[in-house]
Symmetry: C2
Subunit: 199 residues, 2 copies
């Protein structure tokens, strides 16, 4: 449906590409935008433009960084013998927000998925191996989402590092705090049962 204005149509198309935004939301956002003062639109497009050239990744752990080496890798107070493996840079912020972890990270940037031709080379596994072999690492903590791809990537990582005699751990699976047994799915409940801890 032509909306009489190619600028609107173009922008609606751009918004439609974003994750979680369908054609109706895209239209709604654009019709809302054209009612905003031009200064607001300018702020928005400038902050989008600023992404270009300003997003760098740490050359050690592949977390977001403004310098060659990120704040976490270069922080002398972090425990240098632990590496927590996450899928995305956003996961680093989530784990940091718990305040419970003081080691290093390694951001894979994806998960193994043979169907999409994503093998170990594509997700920075060689770089992880290099890091572990060339540093004094005692523990690798796998913090991947407990999905099919997450679990198979976790198994692959465990297999490699067990051969090197490095301790590999994985986030516990169980009931979320505040959950209700009645609404827990069966797989989670089975895992919570089989992984039960002495109390």
């Amino acid at each position: 449906m032509g909306l009489y204005n190619k600028y609107l149509d173009n922008l609606i198309n751009e918004f439609k590409k974003l994750p979680g935004i369908g054609p109706k939301s895209a239209k709604r956002i654009v019709y809302w935008l054209i009612k905003q003062p031009e200064s607001e639109i300018e702020k928005f497009y400038l902050s989008l433009k600023n992404l270009i050239g300003n997003i760098k990744f740490c050359s050690i752990c592949f977390n977001l960084s403004e310098k060659e080496i990120c704040n976490i890798c270069s922080n002398q107070n972090r425990e240098k013998n632990k590496i927590c493996i996450v899928e995305e840079v956003s996961d680093v912020a989530i784990i940091e927000s718990t305040g419970q972890y003081n080691g290093l990270y390694h951001v894979l940037g994806g998960l193994l998925s043979p169907i999409d031709n994503i093998g170990p080379e594509e997700i920075k596994i060689p770089q992880l191996l290099y890091r572990v072999k060339n540093n004094n690492i005692d523990e690798i903590i796998i913090a991947l989402n407990p999905t099919v791809e997450g679990e198979s990537t976790a198994s692959y990582i465990k297999k490699i590092f067990s051969q090197l005699n490095i301790k590999v751990t994985k986030l516990a699976i169980g009931l979320p705090v505040g959950a209700n047994l009645e609404y827990a799915d069966e797989i989670t409940l089975s895992r919570a049962l089989s992984d039960r801890k002495e109390f």
Copy 2:
């Protein structure tokens, strides 16, 4: 939570302002964006930048237009004696998509809402009055959302134009096509009953 990069934080804040996008969706979108090629981000920000200065409204009906007078108002094949009153420019496209209406439009750009200090002057009612008094208008069709504000704006418009002896009609309220009586809300069902038509 500082995400180690002020450019990301700024952009997340901009996305959070958009309708229907909360803090989690905003983060998800921005983390997705930084994985896209720079050429894609450039296309997005350019189409946003292009909004500025390129959005004009028709000086007669306040629909979107690239010229002083929009394609609908300047089209000689449209019925010039009917005006359909809508809230937003997006509603024009929705009514046009039915292919059932061949008259003119008047976009209010809002609804009466005394609580937000929105009176008739703020929603282009004086301009509507001027149009109706200076043209040969036979019918005003109110196509506002059947919400509290929509209905009270409709009543206000009806009161003005009834005094001028102009026929005022309003979109029918009733069951949507394909609906199931069981799931219809009581108010819609009551209206469908009281507005029933001979069959």
